[in-house]
Each structure stands twice: as structure tokens, then as C-alpha cells.
Symmetry: C2
Subunit: 197 residues, 2 copies
């Protein structure tokens, strides 16, 4: 950040009075520009025991497989964001339980259950994954996906997953499904070794 988004004057990085961290402060109008972590919301969506994954058509990790997920937008809830991303990346409508009634809109997500919270502090992100089921088994690649597919447990492309949070979430999901009870799972990811940056 170089300039004040309010008045256009240059900003300085300094600790404002009464604060404890450096912020971008406008030298002209005094506006303080805070930067905060972003939420990435996504879904583990099942159909007849198989899990929906998307192969990424965009960077980072172009060509790798991921759960449908993306940045939460202003004005929506976390579950709405998870359902919307599943709709945008995989053209799939998710509902909370198999056979649940269709949502009022294609990306409502109101009955999904929070399943995992993954902190990724070195990139200022919090990943939230919800559990759901495909409403009708329909899916297709959205604009940001090269392909979309359903994977049984022994078919998951572990070596070709895009993100560590996706691996954490899938491992926890499969373990919970095996024991017949779903919990809430949380972890904090350290910075990756250089070869995975």
C-alpha cells in the first residue's frame, strides 16, 4: 500500500497512537488502513459416498485437485460462501443431508454443517469447510476448473492435491465417516518448506 484510498495522498507505515502494530496511515487525512485476514470458504460435498473435487484452471496450483472453495464476499454468510463457491467452481448445488429439499436459490447453503477451520497465518487466511451433499448428483467444471469429478475414498489423488488445508479436511472427513460421527476439526498450518511455496 503506497497511497491513501480515501484522499490519494501518500501513506506511511507507522504505529498509530494507542495502537501496538504498524499500520498504513495517511499523512494528509489521517485515515488508518487496517489489513486483516481473509476467509476462504468451501465444501466437502458427497454423492453416493464419493466426494466432489475440482482440478484448478487458475493459479496458484494450476492443474491440482481441490475441494471447491474461495474467498468469502461481503454481505454473505460463511455457509452461503461455501455453497456459492461450490456452485461457481463445480456447478453443483449442495444441501445439508441426502435428499434434503432444494434450497431457495442455487447457492444458499443454510443447512450445511461446519466441519473444519484451518488457520494459515503466514498468508493471512482462515479456511472454513462445510459438510454437504449434492442435491441431485449434477456437477460440471465452472470457469475456474479444468475438470470436476467424484472420488471414492481409495481414488482420491492425494499426491495431486492443491493445498494442505484440503488434505487436512479430507483426512479428517474420511476418518469421521469411518467412525460414523462428524466433529469439528481445527488446525494451524505452519509456513511450508521452500519447495512448496
Amino acid at each position: 500500500m503506497n497511497f491513501c484510498s480515501h484522499c490519494g495522498a501518500p501513506v506511511s507505515l507507522r504505529i498509530p497512537e494507542g495502537d501496538r502494530l504498524p499500520r498504513h496511515v495517511c499523512d494528509n487525512c489521517g485515515a488508518i488502513h487496517y489489513q486483516n485476514p481473509k476467509i476462504v470458504a468451501g465444501c466437502v460435498a458427497e454423492w453416493e459416498g464419493r466426494i466432489l473435487l475440482c482440478r484448478r484452471a487458475i493459479e496458484p496450483r494450476h492443474g491440482k485437485w481441490t475441494l471447491p472453495a474461495g474467498f468469502m464476499e461481503n454481505g454473505e454468510t460463511t455457509a452461503q460462501a461455501a455453497a456459492r463457491e461450490t456452485w461457481e467452481e463445480a456447478c453443483a448445488v449442495v444441501v445439508g443431508a441426502p435428499g434434503a429439499a432444494a434450497a431457495a436459490t442455487e447457492a444458499q447453503g443454510a443447512d450445511l454443517s461446519l466441519f473444519a477451520l484451518v488457520n494459515v497465518p503466514h498468508i493471512h487466511q482462515v479456511h472454513l469447510f462445510y459438510r454437504g451433499h449434492l442435491r441431485d448428483g449434477r456437477f460440471a467444471p465452472g470457469e475456474e476448473s479444468l475438470e470436476t469429478a467424484l472420488f471414492a475414498e481409495d481414488e482420491i489423488p492425494w499426491a495431486e492435491l492443491a493445498f494442505r488445508s484440503v488434505r487436512f479436511c479430507l483426512e479428517a472427513y474420511l476418518a469421521d465417516r469411518k467412525r460414523g460421527a462428524f466433529g469439528l476439526h481445527s488446525c494451524d498450518l505452519p509456513p511450508p518448506p521452500p519447495e512448496f511455496l
Copy 2:
């Protein structure tokens, strides 16, 4: 947002190619400035059965009672943010269980449990509350608090609470404590009626 924080030129509000929502786009350098929801993290911290609340010394809701909570910062985890805010607003160290070992730092929060997720979409916030216990029963008003106090269940100042998410969290906490099992609670808050704006 009026100016590009990267190059200082004016921005326009328009839908970038391939996007579906209006963004602030720089007319000069093309930078797209996304705005995303912020996370507020806080704690329900107990000591000998009573719950720690803070009376706010700042707006909004100056003079009202709240759970210690505030905006998550870049570079920290959600639990660290919850513990840090409890330290800053109430000078209290929280741990996951009564008698748990002291954290390595005063605001680590690594062993706290996520208890509530409250969406507040009309102000682009997600509130996360963690469960914890005071490490040693010590607390005092931080700079943003007029006073801090422990409240038994029948002493909680329900009519003087600052935020609806705090009420939701306290009600869920007391109900869970009564039944002897803590779950994860989630709700979406609609915009308040005008008199509570």
C-alpha cells in the same frame, strides 16, 4: 474507496472481466481492490463458574457489557486472536481447561475450543468465540474497557449487553454448561431494527 492504494490514481466501481461483482478497479494501473469480511475473535472465559465480561470504553456501544473480543490481525490464528483480545481488553490470560499449564506467551490461546460462529453479513463480519478458563483468576480493565468483572449466571446484565452475538454466545454457553456438554453453535444475524442501528 476513491483512489488506488497502489498507484494513487482514481478508481472506478465496476465489474472486472470474468468477475460477477462490482469492485474498485484502478483506471491507471488496473489493480483490483477486493473488500472482504473481517473476523472478530473473542472468548467466553470462566473462573470458578463465573464469566468474564468487559464494559466498553469505546464506541460502538460505549458503556455496554461484552465478551472480550476484537478484530483478528494478520499473522495470527483465530485462537491467538481470541486470547490476545482477552489479554488486551481484560488483562486476563485464558487457557483451555481449569488448571492447565501456562501458555508460553500471555496471549497464545493454543488450547482453546471453538464454541460459536456468528455471521453478521450486513456489516461484513464473522464473529468467532472460543471457550476458555482464566489461568489464575487475575483480570483488570484494559485500555478499551471501563471495567471488567466476573458474573454468575443470574448476575449477567442481559439488558446491558453490547452486541447480539454476545447474547447468542452467552445463552448457548449457559445452556450447554447446564446439560454438561459443549457443542459448536452457529447463527446468522439479520440487520437490526432501526432503533438498534
